[in-house]
Assembly symmetry: D3
Homo-oligomer: 268 residues x 6
């Protein structure tokens, strides 16, 4: 049984320390890069469909903005924690720097269970959360994106809320919007395509032929689901998939690990 026991921020710090050691970074630089620059916690009320008011806690963390505006997704999940958001914001800094785009790293999240909320409740939660973090976000300062359990519709609500505060449309305040209001083509499948590219290059590196590979995909949402299709198109044989609930499928999947395992979520 696989249980998430580790604190993701500890993981991120561990990875960073190792890299810093190899790079020979100064102690001052290490001290600066180990901690996020800014962490905003907001507690805000949302009226539920049944008339009750519930309080929610949201985060927006900017790890580093030296190379440009902060960039990073917003996730909705009961498991969101400050340390998780911290770790993800740090990883965003490294990701942007590695591909050399002029952005820093940020991440946000709201502790909620979107699967138990109506669309109207999610809209009200999103609009209120956007208002609360609008101190930080903006096209020149910090640009959210979809992440776990958020999607183009939610990005559209963020853009609309931010735009209403400004008095005019600000499409650049978020990426991953619906195409009709300025979203990027290919954004929906982008993470899964990253999985495919990584898998392809790994196979090439190992001298493996896609046609000879069997693939098991863990997760069947925006990343795993599309990755399965793309790997199939690439010639791989997809022999197992799992959705969010499935322990046993993962256990069965372990048998296939002799050839090739794509852990979709790791590439997110």
């Amino acid at each position: 049984m696989v249980v998430e026991l580790v604190n993701p921020y500890d993981v991120a710090i561990h990875q960073f320390d190792e890299a810093a050691e190899r790079l020979g970074l100064s102690q001052a630089m290490r001290a600066i890069l180990r901690k996020p620059k800014r962490e905003l916690i907001v507690n805000f009320p949302v009226r539920m469909d049944n008339g009750d008011v519930e309080m929610f806690t949201g985060y927006r963390v900017q790890h580093n903005i030296n190379r440009g505006p902060a960039k990073g997704g917003i996730r909705y999940s009961p498991a969101v924690s400050l340390d998780e958001v911290r770790a993800l914001s740090m990883w965003m800094t490294w990701k942007c720097a590695v591909v050399d785009i002029p952005f820093g790293g940020a991440k946000g999240g709201v502790i909620c269970d979107p699967h138990k909320m109506s669309s109207a409740e999610l809209e009200r939660l999103t609009r209120r959360y956007t208002t609360e973090i609008s101190l930080l976000i903006g096209p020149d300062s910090d640009i959210p994106a979809p992440d776990m359990n958020t999607n183009p519709q939610i990005m559209g609500w963020i853009m609309d809320t931010y735009s209403m505060h400004r008095g005019y449309s600000v499409p650049a305040v978020t990426t991953g919007k619906p195409l009709a209001i300025g979203g990027s083509e290919g954004r929906l499948e982008a993470t899964a395509r990253g999985v495919q590219v990584v898998a392809r290059e790994a196979m090439r590196d190992k001298g493996m032929n896609p046609e000879d590979c069997s693939v098991v995909v863990q997760g069947f949402g925006n990343v795993g689901g599309i990755a399965a299709r793309l790997l199939h198109e690439m010639g791989c044989r997809v022999v197992g998939i799992s959705d969010i609930s499935g322990d046993c499928i993962i256990q069965r999947a372990l048998m296939f690990l002799r050839r090739c395992v794509i852990l979709a979520d790791l590439a997110a």
Copy 2:
């Protein structure tokens, strides 16, 4: 031996729940008031006199701003924690509301040991911290004040840093400044005077005569020291004082508790 074991935020929540019960507040209102609206955590580097760069963590928490701009002090201490700042910001909301002034409640702090820092280091720390929280503070939004280990000089640095960002002087961004740049007369002894007034009214209520009272004062800084003088001027006999270090003095002081004990810090 007196040890601070309790989490101040737990204390604040406990007090609030009790008051909410007596007031018959709705569940929604209780949920909203139990949590601060906004909590900003900032990690920032400061160059020390020896040339090293050290990272510091600061907080600014706004508990409630419905009645007007947030108001609350900034403390410098190794013991500062997010929960402490949360609790203090909540108490600021109640204090402002009880005396019916149009302000909400906030509090800030930096984890540092000001007794081990030079004046130049404290200035650099203050200026950088001010820059980092200037997202929140301002004459119309959130107005800091001196608190534990901060003083008029530090308020002057905050005002100057904020004013340099604006391009003109903004004296209203902080209270407790030096008189020469707009500080309030009587601000220095204000908290101690509150101690005196509370003691005087308590004595009146109990039918006690100040001349007949012996007083022990715990703490001998900005609050306790001045309170001792004011109580003395009121006619009380000050028979014991303690400074920040002193257990035994407090123990001896316990003997005087039959008549009258002023716990200065409680009134801060």
Copy 3:
């Protein structure tokens, strides 16, 4: 039978022309003062309780801002029209100038029937209308107030919406708020008290004694209802009242006009 046949803006222009003639104003000055400086019309959707989206039309007109920020109420009524709001904004300019306060004249309104809307619908309508006119309003530029069918609760929603856009509380954006968030004491009965004062002075001028006067009050809302009480307290005999619906009561009231008629709405 009394029927509102006249266009209020024609009335306002007629009054102005007469006053301008007596004052000997230049043609240029008359041309400038006859028209409002700015008229903003907004069309905006509101989700109703049954799930439908309805479009509403709102107005905010600033007649003149030369003497200071514009000031004027917001009314909710099916009879609101651009010409009515224009006329009312012009009258606000004269009112502020006559009592020599440093404000200009403005007025706003939304075409809706607040008696047929739930409180939740009114809140959503108010919040959206506030967002749409927030280009114009603000403590330094234009400050709304309650008017026909709007009240302290609605002013509170306006203040809260505007404040959420700013990120901090802006109590000065509207007058007539609930006392708890900064409303003015005596504001509720202010218009009615104006009626009473005018009546008292008129009686004094005519040599009439309040105790000898019978009074009929047209309208029984915020103005007429309170005026009736105040006139009663002043010693008058209130012999007739009417509410929003009542023709016949007014007809009967005409019989009393030999002595004293207070048309409350004229003093609003």
Copy 4:
């Protein structure tokens, strides 16, 4: 004789309703799209060359800004009306959406007769009108352009006035500026080129050969005049033209309608 009897806004609504029906738009969407989001009316004084002050009425209407900043021209004409500007702003929304550029629809105008005004008077009118609508316009919110009786010189005045308010040059606040200060190449003949392209495609669709076509052009300004030249260059025979005054020319032109008539203004 051709007389403009129809209200352009009625035309626009009629067109929209027909399109909405075919698209099967929801009632809520229809309600939202039938009305402009914002309509600003400004009344402002301009000093004429003879020293008199005259009042002018101007409009700026934003029909829809969901897809990006509003875009649309400004026209100067005695016939400008709020309904005309409303209709034109709505058409701008559709035009921008049809060619899939990230802009919304707006339009503006001033009631004046530019043919009877000196250049100095037009400059003062333009600068004052720009100041009055600068609540709305800007590179990120609403970008004017030349339209009937406005030209690059007037766009330059708009840009200069707006820039003086900002303290630095803002070329992006308007399109159709003189080339020297950032205007677009080809902008002057752009509308006429649209006429040519539409005509060419219509001929292709009908199987007509430009060389065989006789052309009559109604209007001889920025659109008709250049269109005549472009159609001539395309091989058409231009057999009739009319300027702003000419009824009889149009009547004669009717005889040529057997083959091909280009009504230039319709394509504007």
Copy 5:
């Protein structure tokens, strides 16, 4: 013959150095206070009544803003120079500090001969100069006032120009406005009243009786003219006056200096 040979900034520095010596100011403090913080020079075109464009040079100097917004007049004269404006701005710092009001010191001026310009030219010059210095001025940053050759009308143009940039009236951007738009009562005669008060106190100090004093006043504008009247009302015998042109009158005046000479401009 009296000739202005001295550079006013040299005078100001000389005075400052003497005062600094007596106060024992540190070298760092002296270095900071000897120079203005900011000096803005603007060159701008104005269209003259004959159609020509002339360039004018204007200044706005802020000597010190530590105690609050800068405060200081604007003068129009052919003799305005950067050094004169520097000196005057420094004196404003001392004046505000001496009477302990929370303002810093500033001064501005335009090189022009207002006696040779029409009212329309002065208005255009004032409006353009205001636009050019609006980087600096504002109710919270720097507040102009009338000075040599500027008056309430010019302050009104400044306020109106600044307000048009903001979109709403900002009366607090300047003092000395016409009363009708928020000017201060008594402002017109304030400087002259200062002359009278200084003279009265000097007489009291010297044991002189106003009724026994003969007075000669140099200058007959806003300061000297009103001072002559106020001194007359105080009982003095005004035996000589001079206007801007008059050498010989001053020479005759020297004979009266045995008793009392009021040099009005020195008190400005």
Copy 6:
């Protein structure tokens, strides 16, 4: 011996007048273009490494901003003067216009001797100077660049200081930054490359072959040093160089002037 006797602003004006004569510019246009639009002088304190506070004088001059944001370098030198900065700002206007990029002309400088200052002192000077001129600079208004004695590191401090005031990174506030934070590739050698291109084109025009040319380069910093390398790479024979100090080398160099002299600094 070569001595800089001429005032650079006189040179610039002389050049302009000659060009204006050839272009037949109107007197109004000449008057406008002969003077910078805005000149800001700032006096500011910097704490030196020895604890003393020294005052420095800095400038930022915008000659013309009609074609877009102002653009121009910042130089640090004891010889910086207002007239030098004025001349350089005017030349920037012509340079930007000649290569038809949408920028105006500006220049800045600080009177200081950077060769006698530590890196820490230069950082403090740069950060304070940036704060003082941040009224003017910004990506849309005025964009500094490296110039004499300023380099990518100093541009990085400018960007960081400006960004801290804004609360987010603003890389576009300056060009010539380190590549890692958004500097332009090739920027370091750009001026020298200009020297090379001008020399190459001059040789082509004169029918000279690079291989046959001997080259003497005056200056051996960012311009001359790199130009020498580039000319060498182009085939020229570099027979003489001089650094900042060297008279005699220049005298010897005169002997080579029969063939080809590249005065590198003139092309800067």
